[in-house]
Amino acid sequence: MSTKEERERIELLQGTLDLLILRTLLLGPVHGHAIAKAIEFNSDEVLQVEQGSLYPALHRLIKRGWISAEEGTSENNRRAKFYKLTAKGRRQLKVEISKWDKLAGAIARILRPAD
């Protein structure tokens, strides 16, 4: 990656990455690599997450009890660790989404004050 692209890469805050992971897991258990690809793909390549930073985030979510990890096999019959939402995580996702909406709304109001 060239330095120009690096500069344009949108920095994601720690909490935002957690939110994206939780949302990605909403539809079912996914393994680590697939989560990274899903975030890239679903954001139309805008969010180029440093793939490694997923792992501290995943462990943080496990520690908080919002997701759980279990062994499984991937599509091409290889061993993978699948992460899935817990009930607590499902509830937390709703909370985080509403927090995000509030934050986004507040920033939008500052950037484009109502005429």
């Binding site: 990656m1 440093e50 793939q51 490694g52 792992y55 501290p56 462990h59 943080r60």
Partner: protein
């Protein structure tokens, strides 16, 4: 803990597989192998740093947080030595009171007899008069009853008996008479209990035959130490007791003091010597003298209820064989404890009452401390606000405050334990000299566990409300240091605590005064006969 370790161990493999998959995807996109791998690794990021960051996530687990809380709590306690001392003293008195009481409860009701093997398999046999009620409806066995039960039962491996009354005998020592207390026991007493002699041997069944009682004694350890200076050659020497020469055959172990609470005999002698010691001829064949407490060791396959049923059957057999006695009595079986079966319930009830009273006193102390901490909590709102702003959840704040209060109560518990250790013997010293009661008050593991539980419960009791109160933090207003007027709500709780304390104290004081007066009245009652004997 195990989960964290497992996840971190698997992290290497997880990262490797992630990069492998990305490499695979790159290959499918058409990249040449070397570049595919390189791109995958670059896209992943610095593997070392990622591993370090992941490990960092797990660093502050609850154990680390607890350690932080403990350190901080100790610092807070040291910063306010005055109030810490006040709280600890108030609680220590309350806890110490309960610990002292529990020491007695333990010594009387909970502790099994010392040096006895498998005390849980021992059962007491009593004779019960169904036409009477209460403790006086239970009487010990006569010697013929005991002999019959001993020889005809199936439930017990053996049945021992001992005399419930201590025997005052005169020990003629070098021309001087000294009164000592002895206990008469059956020949199988020591062997059935599993008590081995410290020196020499214990009494055996051949020495306790009704036809040929042998004048032998086993000395108590303390008696041997004090009166014979632990003479190692004591076995074989003779003592003159009540005019008869008794041969010393052994010394009992130091911790063994018999099976009856409060009584530590100086020596043990065979039951069949009773007629010589008391000059009561015919005691051994007397069907009307109830004097023997009988205890049987249940066989492995027998149960208490089975033994109960069998003893009733045996009692019926006795009555059938001796219709001239016109008895109409029953047999009763209790688990054997230091307090004889029929009397246990009275002791239990009395001590339960006392423990409830002392528990109330402790509750008052806790209420005191709670209201004190509530007052202090208002001064810490700024600290709580900062912690909250730094990211501490409410649970964390509550946990930290509870750690502080538990530290206080554990300190108080330690002080209370020491207090109890000193106070219990002092209370024993208050007993009137005319009663030959010797009660050992060991501070054993039960007392320790009790004190720990009480301390922790106290910490929770008085710490919870201030913790809940101070963790309810409105970050913005507290950081702006708004002067909050002392809310009416806050002082209502403290007012309630205060009222409750005063009410309970009044009740306790009135009760205590009544007790003291009753005691004074009771000791000045004229019983109608002379009691100086």
């Amino acid at each position: 803990m195990g989960r964290r370790r497992r996840l971190l161990e698997e992290l290497d493999a997880d990262i490797r597989e992630h990069i492998d998959r990305e490499t695979q995807d790159n290959l499918e996109r058409g990249m040449p192998p070397a570049e595919a791998r390189y791109a995958a690794v670059r896209k992943f990021g610095n593997v070392m740093r990622i591993k370090e960051d992941t490990r960092e996530v797990w660093r502050f687990t609850w154990v680390d947080e607890l350690r932080q809380d403990l350190r901080y709590g100790l610092r807070m306690l040291c910063k306010n030595p005055g109030s810490t001392a006040a709280v600890v003293i108030a609680l220590a008195l309350g806890i110490g009171l309960n610990t002292t009481m529990f020491t007695f409860v333990n010594a009387l009701l909970l502790r099994p007899p010392a040096c006895v093997e498998a005390p849980g398999r021992l059962a007491e046999v009593w004779i019960h008069n169904p036409r009477s009620s209460g403790a006086k409806s239970y009487v010990p066995l006569t010697y013929p009853d005991y002999a019959y039960y001993r020889d005809h039962n199936q439930s017990f491996e053996g049945v021992l008996a001992y005399d419930g009354d201590p025997h005052l005998v005169t020990w003629n020592r070098l021309g001087q008479g000294k009164i000592v207390l002895g206990q008469l026991v059956s020949g199988n007493f020591f062997s059935l209990l599993g008590v081995n002699a410290f020196l020499g041997r214990t009494i055996s069944p051949e020495q306790d035959l009704a036809t040929n009682p042998e004048p032998v004694v086993v000395l108590a350890h303390a008696f041997w130490q004090q009166s014979f200076s632990s003479d190692p050659a004591i076995v074989g020497k003779t003592l003159m007791l009540n005019g008869v020469n008794y041969r010393v055959i052994g010394v009992a172990p130091a911790a063994f003091t018999g099976l009856l609470v409060g009584f530590e005999p100086t020596f043990w002698a065979p039951i069949t010597m009773v007629e010589q010691i008391t000059r009561d001829k015919g005691r051994l064949s007397n069907w009307h003298g109830h004097w023997l407490i009988a205890i049987g060791r249940l066989k492995a396959e027998a149960s208490l209820s089975g033994a109960r049923a069998e003893m009733s059957v045996l009692e019926h057999q006795v009555e059938l064989a001796h219709p001239e006695l016109k008895r109409n009595l029953e047999a009763a079986v209790f688990p054997a404890t230091l307090i004889p079966g029929p009397y246990r319930i009275y002791v239990s009830a009395f001590t339960a009452l006392l423990m409830a009273v002392f528990g109330l006193v402790l509750l008052i102390a806790c209420a005191n401390v709670a209201s004190f901490l509530l007052a202090r909590a208002t001064g810490r709102t700024w600290e709580m606000a900062v912690r909250s702003a730094l990211g501490a959840g409410r649970g964390r704040l509550i946990r930290q405050m509870l750690v502080e209060s538990t530290l206080l109560s554990v300190l108080a518990g330690l002080a209370g334990l020491i207090l109890g250790y000193w106070t219990a013997p002092l209370l024993m010293a208050l007993q009137p000299a005319s009663l030959p009661i010797t009660l050992r008050l060991p501070v054993d593991w039960r007392v320790l566990v009790f004190t720990i539980i009480v301390s922790l419960a106290c910490g929770l009791a008085f710490g919870l409300t201030p913790a809940l109160r101070s963790s309810r933090v409105k970050v913005a207003s507290n950081l702006k240091d708004e002067m909050q007027p002392a809310g009416y709500r806050k002082s209502r709780l403290r007012g309630l605590l205060m009222t409750g304390e005063i009410a309970t104290c009044t009740v306790l004081l009135v009760g205590a005064t009544l007790c003291v007066r009753s005691l004074r009245n009771a000791s000045s009652i004229d019983p109608g006969f002379r009691t100086e004997h």
